[in-house]
Each structure stands twice: as C-alpha cells, then as structure tokens.
Amino acid sequence: MQTNAGPSGATADECDCRDGMRPDLPRRAFLGRTVGAGAGFLAASVGVAAAQEAAKAPPGAVLYDVPADPTKEMGRALLEDGGYGTRSQFETEVRIKEDNPTDTTSWTFTPLAAMLGNLTPSGLHFERHHGGIPTIDPTHHNLFVHGMVAEAKKFSMADLKALPSVTRKHFIECSGNTLTEWKGVTAKNVQRTHGLLSTSEWTGVLFSTLARAVNLDPQADWVLAEGADAAVMTRSIPMDKLMRDGMIVYGQNGEALRPEQGYPLRLLLPGYEGNTHIKWLRRLQVSDKPFMTREETSKYSDLYSDGRAKLFTLEMDPKSVITFPSGEMKLPKPGHYEITGFAWTGRGRVQAVDISTDGGKTWAPARLDTQPEPQCTVRFSFPWHWDGSEAVLQSRCWDETGARQLTRGDLIEMRGVNSVYHYNAIQSWAVDAAGEVTNVQV
C-alpha cells in the first residue's frame, strides 16, 4: 500500500483506519459519522480538531466517509442533500481567476481540459464581470423594451416565461480569450489560454417574439442592451442580429441562470463576443444608430498596427484547441493516445478540424465527436501513436462559411499584436521526449 501522511501526521500505514481511506484523496474524509475504524482513529488521535479543519470538501461537494467495500455497508439515505444534488467529493475541478487589482472587475477561466462532452457545467462557466455579481430578486425584475417602437412595454419574469420559448445550444466566448498569447507564449495551460469559452443549453424567448409585442419602427437598426449590475453594462446590438437569432434567456442547462451568468435574465447572441451577451438584462432601447458606449469604443475595439481601430467586430472567428494533451500535462510513456479538443465558430457550424503532430507541416482530418450545430462548440478527436520523440500538436478548423482558423503568422500579419481582442490563431503544444507538454509558438 502506498504510504501517505495522514492529517494528524501519522502515515496511512501506521494508522488502523487505512482501509477507510483513499491514499490519493487530497483531503481526507473525517466527518462525524461513526463508521468502524474511522471513529477509532478520531478518538485516538491528537489534533482531531486540526484534522477536521483540514477535511474540506471541494467546492460543490460534500465529504463523506469512504467505505472499504461499498457493497458491505448501507449507503446514504436520499434527500440528505436537502433536495439539490452535489458533485462527488473526488471531483475537484474549479474555475480559476485572473490576477487583477480587484475581483469585482475581473474574470475566471473554465477548466476546459476536464470537460466531459460538449456542455460546460453551469458552475464552471467562465465569468467576466465589470461591477461584481448583483443579487436580483426575480419578482422585482422587469425587462423594458422602448425607444423606436409603437408600444413601449415592460415584461416581468412571469410575462417572459409565459411566452413561446426556444432551447438551443450555443457557446459563449469572451473576445479577450487567449489575449495573453498575442505578444508571445504566456499562459501555461489550456484553462488559461482558452478558458474564456463555455457552452450551455440556453432557454428563453427569441427577440423576434418580443418584437411582435412592441411593434418595431421600420427605421429601427440598433438596440442598446443594458444590465442591472453596478457597471450598468451596455452594448449596442445590430437589429438584424437580434431579429435573426437573438434570445432573452432565463434558463441554462435545464435550470435558472446562475447569478454570475446574469440571473434572472441575460441576452444571448449566438456567436457574438461574450461582452455583448448582457447579463442581468433590464432594458432594450431601440434606436436607428449605435450608442458608442465605453464598452464598444474604449474597450472591445480592435487596434490595428496602423493606429486605427475596428469597431463592432462582433462575430467570433473560427477557433479550435487541443485540450488533451495540453500544457502542464505529462504523457507517462510512448504509446497510443487519443488527442481531443474543442472547435467553434461564431459564423455558423464547424465544418472540419485538422490535426498536425509535426508543428503544421502535415495535417490529417480529426473526427468530429458531436453533431455540428450553429454557433456551438464541437468535440473532436484524433488517434495518435506517440513514439517518444518530440512533437508539436496543433489543431485548425474551418466553418461552413469557408472561414478558417489562421496560423499565428498570418493573424499577426493581418492585425499586428496590439488588437487585444479576437486572438484565434492555431495553438501549438510541444511534447518533449520525456512526455512533458508545454505551450509553444511555431
């Protein structure tokens, strides 16, 4: 048996409780449940309080004793969780935050490499807030639709939920995703390079449905969307986008939006940069021109090397990334590996994904593991035999409009390195002879 230091300093081999423990569990299960040997250990130990202090469940989980043989002991009764389930205590993945001066205007990254399937669990959806996370009572929340409309209207949450709804899977990507890589290799792992990307099933009302209730002025061309947070976040949205597939959503992955995702209401603009998906949505002001808010001029505009900038670069470009193997991982030995990752595009469906294991010299098609849907991520995979020599792994994708993911060289030639947003170059992961995987640029 593997020897591990226990919480009191005793090793697993010394303590008679070892049958009730998993040596690889980072934090031990010592709750008050009196189960055989575990209780004996607790009673006999010095520093029990310290042990209990140290026993901490990962976020979203509850710690339980781990029986040696779960078939020989009655399991937990139902509803011990109060009626809302938790994840397993052995699952430890969390969002991590950017190191910014204040955590009320900052962002967290989704642990992409740990995602199973295509959807991001709501609790791991990336975040970007400019004025913290507000607490909003849905019974007092209204959506106001006014401006160039015949009938200015307000909609309570109950009003909105009574309207015909749609449920669609879409990714949201912050246009600042991967921004650290413009100026050279910076982030170490895929959570930090690409983790401002998440995919959910969203439920809500199409903007075009609301448009029928307010009767749009034929000259209406732009809509200001405003949030009810401390930043009172605002973006101007082209009317054709809203009418085509814009959604006012209250549901995410089968339940209400999480507070940090805009509870009780957010705008969902399939394929548009994340900042436009206004959270805590309270107001839509219809106009014939954009409002030129701070977020769409000072921020979220793309500076080119000639010193001029592009406004309203709203659609996310084709992009893909290998999540396994990726930065900070280690391949234990030569052999067969299944390369996996995500591909997405704001312009429609992903058409194809290619993989290179030699830094882009040769390419071969990857398998798409999920059905491409509009403005939704796809999972891809590629069987690879690693012979133990150095390799550089890359993925690139095309979408159904013919747009493709560029090499870093092509991207920088076009946009320089100061545009901050919309970095979608091909990502390279180097595998060295020892199997260590690192972020590189080729």
């Binding site: 106001f144 307000k154 909609f155 082209p238 030129m292 500076l303 001029r308 592009k310 100061n418």
Partner: protein, 187 residues
C-alpha cells in the same frame, strides 16, 4: 361534398390558434409607466439625449480630487493597484509598439465619457453623481487631456460640440468587421 367539409374543418382548426396568437402579441407584457424608466438612460453621440445641467473645469477639479483621484491619480495618470486607468496622455502612440489608450488618445466621442462616468463611476460608489457633477468632471478630464480650455463649461450643447482627437481613428463602417480569414494561401 364530404371532402369539402373536411377541408373546411381543417382550415378552421388551423386558423383559430393563429388568430389567437396574433391577438396575443399585442397584449404581451404591459405598458411602461411614466416613472418606470427613471434613472435609466444612455447618452449617444449627437447630444440629443443628453440631460439638462452644466459644470465647469474648476468645479470638476475639486470633484475629481474627492471622488476619483484615489484610483485614477491626482494627475489622471492611473493607479494600477486600484485598477483605475490612466485617463489622459498617449496621443500619437496608437500606431507605435506601445499604444497608450486613454480618453484623450483613443475615445472617439465625448458623450461616451459623460455616459460612462454617470453609469459606472466612481467605482466605489457607482451611479452616485448628479448630472451637474458629471458635466463638471467630464469638463475637467477633457481639459487635462488638452481638449477643452481651463475656463470651459460643459452642458448638453457644449458636450455634443467637442471633437475628440481620435474621432477619425476608426475604420469606416459601424457594423460587422470585414476582415477575411478565407482565401489566403495555406501554409
């Protein structure tokens, strides 16, 4: 005859829910009351929507010192540890290797400054400024950015007249980005 009846029944069934929906759309939601939109506004370029009120550079200097300087710096130089950005300087730097984007060097419209400060600043007490105060603080920032003279005052009309140094620094067209990522030689 029988066929005709069946068709008529089908047509009725199909039309009934449609007309119910058409009628429904007008009744969805409820009318906005006179006070509903109080405190909710956005000020777009053109000045037409800007509120009444006014403020001077001198008034703005004092207000800025009290409400803004501890994050954005006495000289508007920015204090990185607070997250408060540099608000002036950087003119002529946008095409360089180290572009410095500030209100002075980058922002295309002065109305945006009024709109943003009113809605989101001061960061530690958001939305607490009156329209007069925001005119004054905007005047001060634009003065320190070399855009307005020391004796300037701002109100709706004057703000809409301000020409920002970088007003023409943006690619034409205000909708979708036109950059192409197809049609380029493959590597």
């Amino acid at each position: 005859m029988f066929r005709f009846d069946a068709f008529a029944i089908c047509a009725c069934l199909a039309l009934a829910p449609l007309s119910a929906l058409a009628e429904g759309a007008e009744s969805w939601g409820s009318p906005i009351g006179p006070d509903d939109l109080k405190g909710m506004a956005a000020y777009a370029p053109g000045g037409g929507d800007l509120p009444a009120g006014s403020g001077t550079v001198a008034q703005g200097r004092d207000l800025y010192g009290e409400r803004c300087a501890h994050c954005h710096g006495e000289e508007l130089e920015g204090i990185p540890e607070t997250g408060g950005a540099k608000l002036v300087g950087g003119r002529g730097s946008l095409a360089s290797d180290k572009p410095v984007k500030t209100v002075e060097s980058y922002w295309p419209h002065a109305e945006t400054l009024f709109d943003y400060v009113k809605r989101a600043m001061p960061f530690d007490d958001p939305g607490s400024l009156t329209d007069d105060e925001v005119y004054a603080i905007s005047a001060f920032i634009l003065n320190r950015g070399g855009i307005l003279p020391e004796d300037a005052a701002l109100d709706a009309g004057a703000l809409a007249q301000v020409k920002m140094p970088n007003a023409d620094g943006f690619y034409p067209g205000d909708t979708y980005d036109l950059r192409l990522s197809w049609g380029r030689a493959d590597n």
